[in-house]
């Protein structure tokens, strides 16, 4: 084993591997930060450039894009309130609120620390327990998958804000909207009104950008017209000192359990094929809020909230590779492209890869760890300049954000229809806010709805319509019981809140 590890080090310590990683990280951060440009797109676009590279260089380059892209999404989420990638949707809630308080630099720093540490921890989990975890992943069938999704839907309560009913309405709308398009089981079209562009369902990128960016652009430009004296997005005229905008050692150590939680949740979610970074981020956010000493700060600019969301979405990165490397099963679109990269390099992911090319596997494992340090270094350099965005006048910043959204939305699918969709969803988002309907539950439900339906129907096909199937599988039953306890816990919490507000 030591010989193979040394061979892995030998493969890794080459100047072109380091250069590939740096170039990958820079590309990933830039593309991740652009609203509409997804990590899958970045990895797919970079794939042709790897044809002539050596295996470790090629995979390290693509992994650099992947990991940095997931982190990069947080920059636009924090600075302009628009998630650069779907995984950063949970970061918007507290990150943007902190920017408006003049603490954008602090939020960006926290996002970077949380992303890198959680990613590093999840990589270590991946390396130490890849094979064992892969066997666990095989135990997750449609029934267990459905129970996990049901449990994840309880996140809606945590991000509902003041009114649980309105949060559930918003979630219901998200669940319903996600059913547009072709039914996955029978190929029947639903709510397409004869429009061929709707057959494939609603693309997540325009829905997310429309929901978060368009209402904010409208609000800010409207605010500029009504209150021209307020020049920037900052809510306060009080200038925040550089010292206040730095994370203190106490803040950092206090937030470490949240990051650790994110790494664990991200790792568990990461090994389940098809779930992805967004649910992991929201799940970590919701769990952290429940155990937090200051849950009232969540949604209003909580550093802990930023750390939870970012740790959750970056914690997914390493473990997503486990089913790919050990079983040859890609867990999501990005790992599917990575599978292509392996095949192009003449490597077939699966158990045999660990026997035939263990040196390459070790080389990739070392690259996974080192990429985190490169993300940290480059991220830290980029933050100095990125934080200045909050000082840009509103009438300059938001028209630019709109144009970015239009280009990004179009580029996500090469369809002008998506830009129209973004505008329509944006208009809907504005009205939802007007009626006090929170946007976050809508997003979570929209992301989880296809997984929910697919899991439920596949389970029922397997059991020939027998509903008791959800109660006879131990893993599924555990998650359903956890869901039940969560609901009881939420309702008790809301009752307490109500009693307290009555007393006041």
């Amino acid at each position: 084993m030591v010989d193979q590890l040394l061979l892995g080090f030998q493969l890794f310590f080459q100047w072109n591997v380091l250069l590939g990683m740096i170039f990958g990280v820079v590309t990933g951060i830039v593309i991740g930060a652009l609203p509409g440009m997804t990590v899958v797109m970045a990895v797919s676009l970079a794939l042709p450039f790897t044809f002539s590279m050596e295996p470790v260089v090629a995979i390290s380059f693509l992994l650099g894009i992947y990991k940095a892209g997931v982190y990069g999404g947080s920059m636009s989420a924090i600075l302009i309130g628009t998630p650069g990638t779907p995984g950063a949707a949970a970061t918007v809630m507290d990150g943007y609120a902190l920017t408006r308080k003049g603490l954008g630099k602090k939020a960006l720093d926290m996002a970077l620390y949380a992303s890198v540490i959680a990613d590093l921890l999840s990589d270590i989990i991946t390396i130490l327990a890849a094979v064992q975890i892969a066997h666990l992943a095989l135990m997750i069938g449609p029934v267990e998958f459905f129970a996990i999704i049901i449990f994840s839907l309880t996140i809606i309560a945590a991000v509902s804000g003041k009114s649980l009913i309105k949060g559930l309405i918003s979630g219901g709308l998200g669940l319903l909207l996600a059913t547009v398009g072709m039914d996955s089981l029978y190929g029947v079209t639903r709510f397409t009104f004869g429009n061929i562009n709707l057959t494939g369902g609603l693309n997540m990128v325009p829905v997310l950008i429309g929901l978060f960016a368009i209402p904010e652009i409208i609000q800010q430009l409207k605010g500029k017209k009504l209150h021209p004296e307020k020049t920037t997005i900052l809510d306060t005229d009080v200038v925040v000192s550089t010292q206040e905008n730095k994370i203190t050692w106490k803040e950092f150590t206090g937030i470490f359990p949240t990051i650790f939680r994110g790494a664990i949740i991200g790792s568990i979610i990461g090994i389940i094929p098809g779930v992805g970074a967004s649910p992991a981020a929201f799940l970590t956010y919701s769990r952290s809020k429940k155990v937090s000493k200051h849950p009232e700060e969540y949604g209003n600019g909580s550093l802990e909230g930023v750390a939870a969301a970012e740790a959750g979405n970056n914690g997914v990165c390493g473990p997503t590779l486990i089913p790919l490397l050990t079983l040859g099963i890609p867990g999501d679109k990005t790992t599917a492209v990575l599978l292509g990269a392996f095949v192009i390099q003449g490597l077939t992911p699966g158990p045999l890869l660990f026997v035939k090319h263990i040196d390459i596997i070790y080389g990739i494992f070392i690259a996974m760890i080192v990429i985190n340090f490169i993300v940290f270094g480059i991220g830290k350099m980029a933050l100095k300049w990125a934080a200045l965005i909050s000082n840009v006048p509103r009438e300059v910043m938001f028209p630019i954000v709109f144009i970015l959204c239009v280009f990004g939305c179009y580029a996500s699918n090469n369809m002008l229809f998506d830009v129209w969709l973004m505008l329509i969803i944006g208009g809907m988002g504005y009205f939802m806010l007007m009626f006090g309907l929170p946007l976050a539950p809508f997003v979570i439900a929209f992301i989880l709805s296809p997984l929910f339906e697919d899991g439920m129907r596949r389970s029922l096909i397997m059991s020939q319509g027998d509903l008791t199937v959800f109660l006879t599988q131990p893993i599924a039953l555990t998650f359903l019981l956890l869901t039940l306890f969560s609901i009881i816990f939420i309702l008790r919490g809301k009752k307490k809140e109500l009693a307290l507000s009555k007393e006041e």
Partner: protein, 170 residues
């Protein structure tokens, strides 16, 4: 009547109307349920139906909560806060501006369909900045040209995105 309660009651009626229309008009006409599916749970219309009923049910809960709050607030005979009229006037003006922004964005996308993405983006970006109060012409000019142009070049030449050329130019 309290502003929030009023808006909740309006929302209830909008959602109930929406649920009824989806449940009884749109689902039957837009989802074709194949006859060979025997189990209700497996029908392609089952999940949309459940979600729609859920929205309607939550709307009803919101309605009952609003009515309870309305009764409580009227029994307390709460006074309207001072300055609410001005707030409403500003709110109305704000909504008018919001609609104007949204409609102008729609016209911009129409212009993209006609003239391609680059020229309308340059003009729209400049127009927005000037309309919302930016007076530094050099700044406006440089941003309105550089941002769309750089984005176009990056996405078109590096990411191979094929942007619409516009009906009039293709």
């Amino acid at each position: 009547m309290d502003k929030e309660i009023k808006s909740d009651i309006v929302l209830t009626f909008v959602l109930l109307f929406f649920s009824v229309v989806i449940l009884f008009i749109i689902i039957p006409s837009q989802i074709n349920e194949p006859g060979y599916i025997k189990s209700t749970y497996l029908s392609p219309a089952f999940v949309p139906r459940v979600f729609t009923i859920f929205i309607g049910f939550m709307a009803l809960l919101l309605f009952f909560r609003s009515i309870t709050r309305l009764k409580k607030s009227s029994s307390k005979k709460e006074m309207q806060p001072a300055g609410i009229e001005t707030l409403t006037a500003e709110g109305r003006r704000g909504h008018r501006i919001a609609v104007l922004i949204w409609v102008s964005c729609c016209f911009f996308i129409l212009a993209v369909e006609l003239f391609g993405i680059l020229i309308p983006s340059i003009l729209f970006l400049g127009a927005l900045m000037v309309f919302f109060g930016q007076k530094k012409w050099l700044l406006v000019l440089s941003i309105m040209i550089l941002v769309p142009l750089l984005l176009y070049l990056f996405l078109h030449d590096i990411a191979n995105v094929q942007f619409p050329k516009g009906i009039l130019f293709s």
